[in-house]
Symmetry: C2
Subunit: 345 residues, 2 copies
DNA sequence: GAAGATTTGAGGTACGTCCCTCAAAATGCT
DNA sequence: AGCATTTTGAGGGACGTACCTCAAATCTTC
């Protein structure tokens, strides 16, 4: 049988009230008594029954998840995963509010976060680029003891409590290694396409990619990043132009979105399936593209895991409970047609 | 506020006792009343507070995990992961007993499982090859309403409640695709090495591998499987012989264990790093081999996830609670040096 | 050693659910 | 209608913890 607070009281030779005061760090206990209780705790191997504790507290965890308001399939997929995770988390007295901010409007985001401070929010998960305004908002939340978890894109220069997501640089390296090996030994050129090189993630991925290419595949020339600014038309245009003016393009590395536009452009040029294409994130589009052979590999993070992990970490932070690192570390997944996971509705 | 059983009672116009009877499927309630209660439940969106329920039940789940008693690093790693998962699961009143059976002695295993029947075990997770004896033992457990979860290696022709692990055939296909792409366009031969081709897993992996090779890489010749029977000496011998008698060996596919022996053999022959090597499962050995470039890729399943998943599924089965498929589906992971996850102590 | 402050004990209620008992009410059957 | 049977209600104790109050015991300090 697991020891309870009563066992500790008996073992330490104090009353239940004192054990309770020690356990919950309430004042009015002598140092000596605190030590005696802690001794009993470790001697009996007592572990607080969190479920019972939360029941007694009848605590409700209101968590907020803040995502950019883009139509990007990845963000949509993530939002869905978060809803699922929230439904499950409801079983453990957690309620999750999903908020969206206009993607380019950092001040709107800051206002949103400031607003959250007023309400009794137990934690915030945030997917946003690191700008000064965001840094200030995060600091402000932390000052009020509200845990903040960075989602998908890290906020390394803020006081965020935790980052849930994969290392963008390492995922770029992974993409690079696959690209190099898939291209084979012959010299080739690789096109790199991004939405915007102002995004930390794109920069990091590209850095990782280049790192590996330079080191391991010197015969491959990686060209300058083409920016699409999220526009399919621009993507079509720059890709067609680049392909017309450059020979030996053997690979395309898509740092961000635009898989559909890329596939149709390649298809028009009769190149579909003849160029090694590697992208990021598993969405309905990339899934379909993998299945039909339009993409060769996708570097992804498991969004279901991401969502559950974010909520678990927020919860742990709110409870001031330790985090199981091995469970909360997301893996950089390499997905090809052969190991495509089932889609689950 | 979340609705409680009291709210349901009020809403349905019945007493607390009746709501309780319905919720816990106790007898002695008219069909009509059951419907009324269920209506109230769905109307109010009631979700049972599992924590409180378990507290009240003060139920202890004794789970047993049965693994073969091999020194294989994979099994060792899995055992470690299970211990970690068990430690965490202890927080939710679950205790896990880890049992080992002599790898080749199916009758010893059967006796072990029969012995479990006597004790009040709430569930069994089992990693074992599917033999008639095992089939009978599983059936017997199920007859006593003890849930059985197959671990790592499926038991498809038994009445096991669930399988936690990856599809061996699909992981063979994944290995095949990587092998083909890593080899490049030129013709080559691929050696396949297994411990024993009597193991279902080895067969399945090989089938998947061949499938892809035949379809997508006709220029590659996949040779007959060499069996090592777990002996490093045998491995050294057969590999050296095969390499001496066969030209153009560009790749080696290791279906089971033997990474260290293979590396040292290749090293002696001056071939280390010149042959595309693909193996299975992430263990300290394969991790080191990936890091040093001795292996090019490993097809793996996340053992931490595997362990947690097995315990969660057992728990759900014991509680007769639905399973979150998307959380319990293990992914076929492709691991190369660039996306090697951290080792976590 | 007395007054004051600090520390400890005893006891209670609550959280939401399970599970038990016993009596009361409703229903079915002849 | 009367009886047996089934269904329902009312109530209480338990699980392990949190949090509250009030009194008693123990320490300080002069």
């Amino acid at each position: 049988m697991r020891p309870t607070v009563n066992d500790i009281a008996r073992e330490a030779g104090v009353s239940l009230a004192t054990v309770d005061r020690v356990l919950n760090a309430r004042p009015g206990v002598r140092e000596k008594t605190i030590l005696a209780v802690n001794d009993a705790i470790s001697k009996l191997g007592y572990v607080r029954d969190v479920a019972a504790a939360n029941l007694a507290r009848s605590r409700n965890y209101r968590m907020a998840v803040v995502l950019p308001d883009t139509e990007s399939q990845f963000v949509q997929t993530l939002a869905e995963a978060l809803k699922d995770a929230a439904a499950t988390a409801a079983q453990t007295r957690m309620s999750v509010t999903l908020l969206r901010f206009p993607a380019e409007d950092m001040h709107a985001l800051a206002a949103m976060l400031r607003n959250l401070e007023g309400q009794d929010v137990a934690g915030v998960a945030l997917m946003a680029p690191e700008t000064p305004v965001v840094r200030d908002a995060v600091r402000s939340l932390r000052m009020r003891d509200i845990p903040v978890v960075a989602l998908v894109s890290d906020l390394p220069n803020t006081e965020r409590d935790h980052y849930v997501g994969i290392d963008a640089r390492a995922s770029g390296r992974t993409a690079g290694m696959l690209m190099g090996r898939f291209l084979g030994a012959r010299p080739a050129r690789v096109m790199v396409i991004a939405n915007s090189m102002l995004l930390r993630e794109s920069i990091e991925r590209r850095l990782g990619f280049d790192e590996v290419m330079l080191r391991a595949f010197p015969q491959v020339e990686v060209m300058q990043t083409l920016e699409t600014h999220g526009s399919a038309t621009t993507l079509r245009h720059v890709v067609a132009e680049m392909l017309a003016n450059t020979g030996q393009v053997g690979g395309i590395y898509l740092l961000g979105t635009g898989h559909r536009a890329l596939a149709s452009t390649l298809s028009e040029l009769g190149l579909l399936g003849h160029v090694v294409t590697i992208g990021h994130e598993l969405t309905p589009h990339t899934r379909a593209a993998l299945q039909s052979g339009q993409i060769d590999a996708v570097i992804a993070q498991n969004v279901g895991h991401l969502a559950r992990s974010a909520l678990r970490v927020l919860r742990a932070k709110a409870d001031r409970t330790p985090i199981d690192e091995s469970q909360e570390t997301l893996r950089i997944e390499i997905i090809i047609r052969e190991n495509l996971p089932p889609s689950h509705g």
